[in-house]
Amino acid sequence: MTCRLSSRVTRRLAVLAAALSLLLAALALSAGSASASPFCGGQRLSNFGYCYGAARDLSGDSGYGVEHSICIGADSIWGGCSTGPGNIKTMSLGSVIHAEPWIEDNASGVTTVYGETF
């Protein structure tokens, strides 16, 4: 009887330990890395204006302009420019920084921009 009870408790402890391990592994995987997060979604920029997202942890960002090309970056880092409307520009840093992502309108006309950090 005692042995059967002990065996059941042991099995439950093992299941609990496994679940806890999974939980810790998941937290370890997600900690310290930036998740995809949009910024400047649908903003209308004109005359070489800038749009900034809130400061966050990021290892890069992407963006595009609907009507014409844009440049992207984060804080003082330039991530390059697209060459036309709808072209997606991405900057990958290889390490996580805390910075404000930005998109710059690249012409005197108005364009709608979308950005995303990761």
Binding site: A19, L22, L23, A25, A26, L27, L29, S30, A31, S33, S35, A36, S37, P38, F39, C40, G41, G42, Q43, N47, G49, Y50, C51, Y52, G53, A54, R56, S59, G60, S62, Y64, H68, S69, C71, D75, S76, W78, G79, G80, C81, S82, T83, G84, G86, N87, I88, K89, T90, M91, S92, L93, G94, W102, I103, N106, A107, T112, Y114, E116, F118
Partner: protein
């Protein structure tokens, strides 16, 4: 740092969706819950209407299926894509972390240019991309993806700008592009001026001091 003329974009993103926190993950419920909890901290409240469906789908860069082979139209029109693939180096893959726009890293072709830095043409899902590192000394890995129909009309090009600094007192712009078969010249229009550069073996390069990306590219 460039002037900040518009800060209206702060915290206007739609509800963030973590690439890591995929609902379709095969992990156990506890795993989904754990990642979901960690992703909550990166969400931002929505204050903007959602973009049109076509735009929204274009934004989900990581959601595109990775291509297994070069799309026939791309292979038919770009000589570089008919050469054996070299693939992206492991160090570049580590920085990129995940393929965007359905890029196949294994199908990347090195663009041979006499420049510092490295450039690759990478086929993607309905798009063609250039991945580059070290352009004008930029330590970031840049990726530029263009829809295939646009690539056929204007090529695929990456633009890097460098403001003057202590080591380089003059501004610099570097454009490296790949053109489809038969193109002989690329015209780069920037704020009312046009710079024409030859296409050699399907590649064009423009280096000048214009501190602005082009308004448009065209080929002939």
């Amino acid at each position: 740092m460039a002037k900040r003329s518009d800060r209206d974009g702060r915290a206007v993103g739609r509800r963030g969706a973590s690439r890591r926190a995929g609902a379709g993950s095969p992990a156990a419920l506890v795993l989904v819950l754990a990642v979901g909890v960690s992703a909550c901290g990166t969400s931002s409240p929505s204050t903007q209407p959602h973009p049109p469906a076509s735009v929204a789908s274009a934004r989900r860069l990581g959601a595109d299926r990775v291509v297994r082979r070069v799309e026939p139209l791309q292979a038919a029109r770009f000589a570089l894509l008919r050469t054996p693939p070299e693939g992206l180096p492991a160090r570049i893959r580590r920085i990129l972390r995940a393929p965007s726009a359905g890029m196949s890293w294994a199908l990347a072709r090195r663009i041979r240019v006499e420049l510092p830095g490295a450039y690759w043409l990478v086929p993607a899902n309905g798009r063609m991309c250039i991945v580059d590192r070290g352009s004008l000394g930029n330590p970031a890995v840049e990726t530029t993806c263009v829809r295939t129909d646009r690539a056929l009309a204007e090529g695929v090009a990456t633009v890097t700008l460098a403001r003057p600094h202590a080591g380089a007192p003059r501004p610099a712009r570097l454009i490296v592009g790949v053109a489809p078969d038969g193109a002989r010249e690329a015209a780069v229009r920037t704020r009312g001026t046009v710079a024409r550069v030859p296409v050699v073996d399907g590649v064009f390069v423009l280096r000048d001091e214009t501190l602005a990306p082009p308004d448009s590219l065209s080929l002939r």
